[in-house]
């Protein structure tokens, strides 16, 4: 396997995806869940740019990536605000405590 830019990108994407998914599956702290989500989205973003490079539409991919950065930041801000509220209302950041809709 040659060490060209595409292969590096694929490796980075796989690494970020694995980290993100592992975090989402295993972590129970709400703040860490938000961090894991951010890592996952960064992986998707690298994949987007790499795909744009491959198909020769790098500009389009880069502008998409910028859009994702904006949207992603908003997601992070809202999620953290929710986390603060959860901590205030329930007293814990453990996501296992967040099952009140089920009852």
């Amino acid at each position: 396997m040659t060490l060209n830019i595409t292969n590096v990108a694929v490796l980075v994407v796989l690494g970020l995806f694995a980290t993100g998914f592992y975090g989402l599956l295993a972590v129970r702290n709400l703040i860490k869940v938000v961090v894991a989500l951010q890592i996952l989205v960064k992986g998707a973003m690298v994949a987007l740019v790499a795909a744009g490079n491959l198909t020769g539409q790098l500009q389009a991919a880069q502008s998409m990536a910028l859009t994702v950065i904006v949207a992603d930041t908003i997601v992070a801000v809202v999620a953290l605000a929710l986390a603060v509220q959860v901590r205030r209302c329930i007293g814990t950041l453990d996501i296992k405590a967040l099952t009140s809709l089920k009852r």
Binding site: L24, L25, K96
Partner: protein
């Protein structure tokens, strides 16, 4: 211009729904006024759309590759039903001003009614199968929410849920058919499909045809799903008139007519359609004979008359079915609304407690009798001409024995209609009821419908011209009104039908002498009161749905990690499918 009108006919009711809802329940007068204004405006726009009807696509909104363009066309079939939905809708809203005075939560009521009217117009004007499904489901949702409007009444809630589940079952058939059509034709436009139907393999076409028949039967409360409609009578009466008599229940018939050119050649489909219509018409006519609740009796007669329309579609009488649909929408809305005036006046729906109300409510009696004469099919009201055309179409396009059964149904219709009129308005009062005549708003809604019942048959010629000129794929032929009148008046079948209807009337007149026969048939009456056992089937469907939903709750753990796991499993599944497909 035409495209603007088309958009407005959907957008005005929907915008009105939002405005009425935002007006707030603290200002009921404003809510009444806004609802009437928006619904009447929508009616005017839909009528203004009539001259623009053509077979061409009027409006096409590109939404990317996956869904096809969102296309709308104002052909005769669609515009006609849009006019029915908005005009009857505005009359029902005007009636509601009197009927719902002093009720709580008018915002919810009017918002749902207006939301429904817009969705119904969208359903009949779009030619995109996905949009048809989308609007179809909105109408079902509004129907459910309005049946359960009195949501502290367990019967109303149960009726609403039953209607929702049964019509959703049909909606699944529609979605399956639509997706199959997409996979075979590569387009969601129903015109493409109808034009290319001949190229689709016979088996696949048969699956679509019967899927659509199931959807239509569930929506139009046809055999074997006919029991949700009587239970839907817990809704406020203007809702029964609008949704469960004049508009939404016609959607099934509309679907069958719309796709008739594609499915007519499927072996057995037309017979199945006729059979569904015939069984619905006959069974519910018998049930109406023994019903004691005024609104339930009317609901049974609605199913029965829808059965006539479905039967006509199966027999190839598309114009007859649509003409009967027009007559039925008008006279059944009239009957329901005047029944609403009665119920509002006396405070009960039980016909056994009524009687002799005619003296106290002369206006209501007059309009109810006009509607009843049309329902019974007596000349020269609109129900007479359209029912005779349906029977004639059945004689030409269907087997003789079915025609005879439909004739018997017509006789039964006459009999139960007169039983109904008699029990409510004539004879001696059977209970001390304080009746009062309908108010001004109610009369304003009833008078145009009564006039329509007397006159809409004059539109036979222009209506057939409209359908013929804008539905090229349906291969219809149009005639002048005079031709239709002559055709009906001179056909020997009409004479036979009149004799049967007269027999039905005579049977009610001489009911005392027929007591022996009535006693002999008491078994049938008991079975009819028990809805011939089909209630059990429908209840089984509802219970199975609710049980499986309850069991599926296990999958909703409420834990984020499990949801992530589900998403990942889905991702892997999609990747595997893509790998295999490639």
């Amino acid at each position: 211009m035409a495209a603007t009108l088309l958009i407005l006919s959907i957008a005005i009711p929907w915008f009105g729904a939002l405005v009425v809802w935002l007006a707030g329940d603290a200002r009921p007068r404003l809510q009444h006024g806004l609802a009437v204004a928006f619904s009447v405006l929508a009616g005017a726009v839909a009528v203004a759309l009539l001259p623009f009807s053509s077979s061409q696509i009027l409006l096409s909104i590109p939404v990317g590759g996956a869904f096809g363009d969102f296309t709308f066309a104002a052909d005769g079939l669609g515009v006609f039903l849009a006019v029915v939905a908005t005009v009857v809708g505005s009359l029902a809203v005007i009636f509601s001003v009197g009927y719902m005075r002093g009720e709580q939560q008018l915002g919810r009521y009017y918002a749902l009614v207006l939301f429904f009217i817009g969705a119904m117009v969208g359903l009949v004007l779009t030619t995109n199968l996905l949009l048809i499904f989308f609007f179809w489901e909105i109408t079902a949702l509004c129907s459910y929410a309005l049946i359960s409007f009195y949501n502290d009444d367990p019967k109303a809630v149960a009726g609403g849920i039953k209607a929702l589940i049964i019509t959703q079952l049909g909606g699944v058939g529609l979605l399956l058919g639509a997706l199959m059509i997409f996979s075979y034709t590569g387009s969601f436009d129903l015109r493409d499909f109808i034009a290319q139907a001949g190229n689709i393999p016979q088996t696949a076409l048969a699956v679509m045809a019967f899927g659509f028949l199931a959807a239509a039967a569930a929506k139009s409360a046809q055999f074997p799903f006919q029991t949700w409609l009587p239970d839907a009578m817990e809704a406020p009466t203007p809702i029964s008139a609008l949704i469960h008599a004049a508009t939404m229940v016609n959607a099934g018939v509309y679907l069958l007519v719309r796709f008739y050119p594609a499915f007519a050649e499927v072996p057995g489909w037309r017979t199945a359609v006729m059979l569904v219509g015939m069984l619905s018409a006959l069974l519910t006519a018998i049930m109406a004979m023994v019903a004691t609740d005024l609104k339930r009796a009317l609901a049974y007669s609605t199913v029965s008359q829808l059965g006539y329309m479905v039967y006509a579609v199966g027999a190839g009488g598309l114009f007859a079915s649509q003409f009967h649909l027009m007559s039925h929408s008008v006279f059944k809305a009239l009957l329901f609304l005047s029944a609403g005036a009665v119920i509002h006046g006396v405070g009960t729906r039980d016909m056994r407690l009524m009687g002799g109300l005619g003296q106290k409510m002369p206006f209501t009696r007059a309009v109810f009798v006009i509607g009843a004469l049309a329902l019974a099919g007596l000349p020269i009201l609109n129900g007479f001409w359209s029912k005779e055309l349906v029977l004639e179409a059945g004689l030409v396009g269907g087997p003789l024995w079915m025609w005879v059964v439909m004739l018997v149904g017509a006789g039964l219709t006459a009999c139960y209609t007169f039983r109904m009129v008699w029990m409510v308005f004539y004879g001696q009062p059977r209970a001390k009821l304080h009746a009062h005549e309908a108010g001004a708003a109610m009369k304003t809604a009833l008078a145009p419908l009564a006039a329509g019942t007397l006159l809409t048959w004059l539109l036979a010629g222009p209506f057939s011209k409209l359908l013929e000129s804008t539905l090229p794929l349906h291969a219809l032929e149009s005639h002048s009104t005079l031709h239709y009148l002559e055709e009906v008046a001179l056909a020997p079948a009409t004479l036979i039908a009149m004799v049967v209807i007269a027999l039905g009337l005579a049977a009610w007149w001489q009911r005392a002498r027929l007591q022996g026969l009535v006693n002999a048939l008491s078994g049938v009456a008991r079975a009819a009161a028990d809805s011939f056992g089909f209630e059990a089937i429908n209840r089984g469907i509802v219970r199975a749905t609710q049980n499986s939903a309850e069991n599926l709750r296990v999958t909703q753990t409420g834990l984020v990690s499990w949801n992530i796991f589900g998403i990942m499993a889905g991702l892997v599944l999609v990747l595997v499918i893509l790998l295999l497909g490639a």
